[in-house]
């Protein structure tokens, strides 16, 4: 079941005008921000389907950039986000794509700075709920019904054990786990769905573990 909480239906509290094109879009931008870990210096946003056709009227552009500035769906600063981001030095480009995607509200977000780059694909499935379907070329199959931790790591022995050891020590139970890599010895991704919400202190601990380069969580 994609929707597990009554507050997915009655909620979120948000700045109008569209839950899928504004609130959901803000959440996609914010997921990218959290995964990247800091405010990016550039952002290339590719919009597909209904997003591409109507983004100006719905404020999808200001919402995604608002998310990149770490604003929540109800943050009144969203309407000024483009101005703020540019003032902070962020270079922003929007691309309206014609390609057909599985979901009508799809955005591909490429962000980065001198130290790194991140690319994700997010879909806005209605009522303000968003899902991340791709991260740095890795296809994600998140159920969306449990909190998840995403760990980008080097494909080396011991990387998985060091992550799971930290979770075990903190008494976090793993419900589902998936490991994928681009090629042997290169960048890899662990997706770990857990039963409880994760404290930031645990994320910090994971980030310091051997071979792990980036850590983010996706809340329920």
């Amino acid at each position: 079941m994609k929707f597990r909480s009554v507050f997915d239906i009655i909620g979120p509290v948000m700045i109008g005008p569209s839950s899928s094109h504004t609130a959901g879009a803000a959440r996609i931008g914010r997921a990218a921000r959290h995964l990247f870990g800091r405010e990016p210096k550039y952002a290339h946003i590719h919009l597909y389907g209904s997003f591409a056709k109507t983004y100006k009227g719905h404020g999808t552009d200001v919402a995604i950039i608002g998310g990149l500035l770490d604003y929540d769906t109800y943050d009144e600063r969203i309407s000024q986000s483009l101005v703020t981001a540019r003032k902070n030095g962020m270079k922003i480009r929007f691309h309206e794509e014609d390609a057909h995607t599985d979901h009508p509200n799809t955005a591909r977000v490429k962000i980065g700075d001198d130290d790194g780059e991140l690319e994700l694909v997010g879909i806005s499935i209605g009522g303000g709920k968003a899902e991340i379907t791709e991260l740095n070329g890795f296809e994600l199959r998140l159920s969306g019904s449990h909190p998840a931790i995403l760990l980008i790591h080097n494909d080396r022995y011991g990387a998985i054990a060091s992550a799971t050891a930290i979770l075990a020590k903190n008494e976090i139970n793993i419900g589902r786990m998936e490991v994928s890599r681009k090629a042997q010895g290169e960048q890899a991704l662990m997706v770990i769905e857990v039963d409880q919400n994760i404290d930031d202190s645990i994320l910090d601990e994971l980030e310091r573990a051997d071979h792990i380069t980036q850590v983010a969580k996706i809340s329920d």
């Binding site: 079941m1 994609k2 929707f3 597990r4 909480s5 009554v6 507050f7 997915d8 239906i9 009655i10 909620g11 979120p12 509290v13 948000m14 700045i15 109008g16 005008p17 569209s18 839950s19 899928s20 504004t22 609130a23 389907g49 209904s50 056709k53 109507t54 983004y55 100006k56 009227g57 719905h58 404020g59 109800y74 009144e76 309407s79 979901h103 009508p104 509200n105 806005s124 499935i125 209605g126 009522g127 303000g128 409880q196 329920d220």
Partner: protein, 294 residues
Amino acid sequence: MFRNVAELVELAESENIQISEVMIRQEMEVKQLTREQVFSQMERNLDVMEKAIEDGLKGVKSHSGLTGGDAVLIQNYMKNHTPLSGNLLMDAVSKAVATNEVNAAMGTICATPTAGSAGCVPGTLFAVKNQLNPTREQMVRYLFTSGAFGFVVANNASISGAAGGCQAEVGSAAGMAAAAIVEMAGGTPSQSAEAMAITLKNMLGLICDPVAGLVEVPCVKRNAMGSSNAVVAADMALAGVTSRIPCDEVIDAMYKVGQRMPSAFRETAQGGLAATPTGRELEAKVYGISLKKE
């Protein structure tokens, strides 16, 4: 966890509790929260809804200038006339319009289940309130009951206009409101389901065709009509009228209609009212573009 309306009604009736109580208990279990936490989170949503209605009734205008001020017109009309459709109905309509006008003006609202359909649930609630005199707790419960039915639609069909057309948004919202009115008025859980079914049946096939891609025309007035649909359906269900097609099958029909809806009618601003000469003219005016360009 209930997966459909039949299971939701069965859960409520077998334990002799209200639909809202089933939803509250499920939320506590899924999120591992206390009753107080779940309740107070919903109460905050209620506060946002009340504030949005207040703002809308004072009069707002969207940035595009396409919508705003109609809630005030209706309230003024009610002060000077006896509305032919009745005071309660027009009150619900004006408060639904107020909410969606605030949304269009990029004000703060609570999505129920979406922003474009945010008017139906609070609009009906704050109108029915004047006749039924509910406690604050009953008003919060109204939102849980709405949420329970929306939950079923979201998981078995869709609440997204881009995926299923307006029937999935305002259709779902109106159905959710109808079910909640029935509970607040003292109806049974199965009467709530009947009210939802009757409402949604009459919203089937409704396309999503926003002029200029904005959540304004016709969205604001669709919330007005969705709210009136909800009040009438609730009255019918309370009178004992039932839907020949069970609620879950209506939801499934709505899903299948949405799947077969061409993309022009699913929030792309390519068809319906958006593609009328006036719709195109308004679009050009909003974006400052030349009509010839197209």
